[in-house]
Subunit: 477 residues, 2 copies
């Protein structure tokens, strides 16, 4: 029940866990570090998948499926990749009752197994570009886990593309970053910053990593998706070459990009409140709930009236009619708020008499009384308003908590105080980046596109040397 | 290219592998026993998933996701279950660089992990029924593998439901068997027999296993889906009880049911021919392909005319316009036959002059010339005809190759000769079943519903004792 959610002001982490567990989005599983995604959480993932999958297909990608198990030796073929991922791997040493000749790791990501196949499939420039995505589970052994945000096993999609030129691969990398930005902003109603990662935050094996970064309600950053330009690293590791249009044998250029069930954590943390989940209408499995309010002497009439209103809602609005007799209207209000249904339609005897209904917004609590014949159009409009206003509210919050700073003491005060995003000049030196992390626990979340131009003439916030970048710093999930 | 497919008459197994590889449905992966599902194969799986998922939701089920890794001790809680599955498990002994305290197995099926969660979620009859499905990968270590039909890792869905009574669980078991039958017959165009499995062919841990069984073109049987009544076996193993409406504490009743990427193998083997894949229109990722035929001097006009016809096809028909200049029409015909597109639309200069187009059925090769304005409606009708006629053809083939036999010598002659389904009386004794298997390699595929009634007065084909069942015997995949 809603009343038992820890308020955000009291303990933000507890609040988050309360929502996940009490709204039955996920549960702890008996295997340390893993979770069960319960039907209400999975329904959110299904809607995310469906929107993203359509966007991937519109941009020419096809889905495929590659094996879960990868020979340990494959990881070792790309030096940075093995260094980054080997320590996080789960290792299968026995199969079918026998010890295996070579241990197999459960995929932490699939570059190596996929590029071993691309070697078979790519011979000529005519085979390129190869634009493949997979929806899959992956496993990264984690010491400190948190439901949805960081679990040993998670669900994700990973795109792996092969191209004839660096330029084309770079375009693809940015195209998919843009797909992620659009998805985050238009579906999840979460404004995101886009840009490159610094060397220390790059994907193991990438030339460049780009990310979308969101701000949560506790002002911490959350990396919500990444897109990597891999250069020829994996093509060289797996010797994947193609004959170019002019007959040369060249190594293939690569990208990879992914988002995961972590997005569900981002969704919760960006919009929800002390009464429970708040879900943007486009991703809400149920968009509206009708709660009839009656006594024994007017039950039949109210139910009939409410059913008539329900019948007028178009199929495009995902609506539930809650006529369960075991629970009171008050209990239902709290329950549907807890699970984040965007619009509640209350219909009581007075509404029946006056030929009206009461619409209640989940995000603001605002109530409107509308005539029965206007319910359908008003609910439709309200869903759009809520979608837009969740985004605007999140954006205003982020902007309020984003600070351009050029004094290191002030930066430390902000990051060790209320937090938020700090925009500051940086000279590109990893030593300074490390010092900031030590002093404030903040990392560079993103080097925004075109930031180098804006850095000219400025001094690095930590070293005082000429700045090369304007970077965004924050503590992060 | 189509010409290099081994004919079925020469080597049925080679024919199958040729189609899988040459139509690029799947490929061998570097990890023994596993495969890569390539985009063309995965597109079939996506269409199957989408149809099945809708049927599961219509029958009240919700999707969820449970962890990949299961503590080894969980399997051991159900005696038959561990005996059946432990020998097939892949075992994770190390994670995050350390040896694990308890080895984890990769799920071969998820009853144990799911019932460990149901214990947390089920307290009262109000929590029942619990109707959950998951789409996931599973792993069963196999010595002899075959693309799609039997691989160490495969994709599937597994439904796991919990009920307050045996009767309700039995109803659910049969409801889902019926969903599978409808899917096989209405979407895959494959007629199936339904019924129970004998003791020796049951799921490890089930009270009763029911299956849908199909006949392939080599007259062998293929188990295409199973639905299990699990009784209280898993509820007892994991101590899952509920308070009934009248206040008693009782163990919960269970079912589980699943179909897998094996269905893709069934689809191929049921309908395809020596030119490649034949796909029923409802599952075909591409339902129609337009191949324009032109020379340099009429190219622009033919392409424009063909594009006009394409423009008149409704969006509901999944159509590709193949105007690739690098390949000849003949090459394209063979290629689109290889991948199994149900209808080819040929449009050449003569067709343009006469205001017509030529429709070619993939399944029969039959050509029809139709007026341009009728192409849209004719293609739509043809897709329905093909869907129906693939089913009728497969059914006629199965019926022709199904023999009611009551003499053991004749049974052996049939099963060791051309094969097919043999319907014969059986006394229910596993010893006789084992002898038949030894003599013919055939197993009981199914004990059809109501078969016991028809057995009365008959004698067992192998022992001569009074028969208890009329069983269907066949060699199987």
């Amino acid at each position: 029940m809603a009343e038992s959610i820890t308020p955000r002001s009291q303990d933000y982490s507890e609040w988050y866990v309360d929502i996940v567990l009490k709204a039955q989005l996920a549960d702890y599983s008996p295997v340390k570090g893993t979770m069960v995604i319960r039907p209400r959480g999975y329904a959110l993932w299904e809607r995310m998948q469906s929107a993203l999958d359509a966007m991937f297909k519109e941009t020419g990608h096809q889905n495929a499926y590659f094996p879960l198990l990868i020979p340990e030796s494959f990881l070792q073929k790309e030096a940075e990749h093995v260094e980054g991922f080997a320590p996080e791997c789960a290792v299968v040493t026995h199969g079918g009752g026998e010890k295996l000749d070579e241990p197999l790791v459960i995929r932490p990501t699939s570059e190596t197994i996929i590029w071993s196949m691309y070697k078979k499939w790519i011979q000529s420039y005519r085979d390129l570009p190869l634009l493949i995505n997979q929806w899959a589970n992956v496993l990264r052994w984690e010491k400190r886990t948190r439901l949805f945000l960081r679990t040993t096993e998670f669900l994700w999609q990973e795109g792996h593309t092969a191209h004839a030129s660096a330029e084309e691969a770079r375009e693809e990398t940015l195209r998919m970053l843009e797909v992620y930005r659009r998805f985050a902003e238009e579906y999840m109603a979460i404004p995101v910053l886009t840009g490159a990662k610094s060397e220390s935050e790059k994907f193991a094996g990438a030339i460049d990593t780009y990310a979308i970064e969101a701000m949560m309600q506790d002002r911490k950053a959350l990396q919500a998706g990444t897109s990597h330009f891999l250069g020829q690293n994996f093509a060289k590791a797996f010797d994947v070459t193609f004959q170019s249009a002019d007959g040369q044998l060249e190594h293939v250029w690569a990208t990879s990009w992914g988002v995961s069930t972590r997005l569900i954590g981002a969704l919760i943390m960006a919009h929800s409140d002390d009464n429970g989940l708040v879900v943007p209408p486009k991703l809400a499995p149920t968009q509206a709930v009708i709660v009839p309010i009656y006594k024994n002497d007017n039950k039949a009439e109210v139910l009939e009236y409410a059913a008539r209103i329900r019948g007028e809602l178009p199929d495009s609005i995902r609506c539930v009619f809650d006529d369960d007799e075991n629970n009171s209207p008050g209990w239902k209000f709290a329950e549907w708020e807890l699970v984040g249904v965007p619009v509640r339609i209350e219909i009581g005897p007075r509404d029946m008499e006056k030929g009206q209904a009461v619409l209640v917004r989940r995000d603001t609590g605002e109530k409107t009384t509308v005539a029965a014949r206007e319910v359908a159009s008003r609910v439709g409009a309200l869903l759009e308003e809520i979608q837009a206003s969740l985004f605007e509210r999140a954006k205003a919050f982020r902007d309020e908590n984003t600070h351009e700073i050029d004094d290191y003491e002030q930066m430390k005060t902000v990051l060790n105080g209320d937090g938020g995003f700090v925009i500051a000049p940086w000279d590109g030196d990893p030593a300074g980046e490390a010092r900031i992390k030590e002093d404030t626990k903040a990392t560079i979340r993103v080097l925004p596109f075109g930031n180098e131009d804006r850095a000219s003439g400025k001094r690095c916030i930590v070293s005082g040397n000429p700045a090369k970048h304007i970077a965004v710093f924050a503590r992060a999930y």
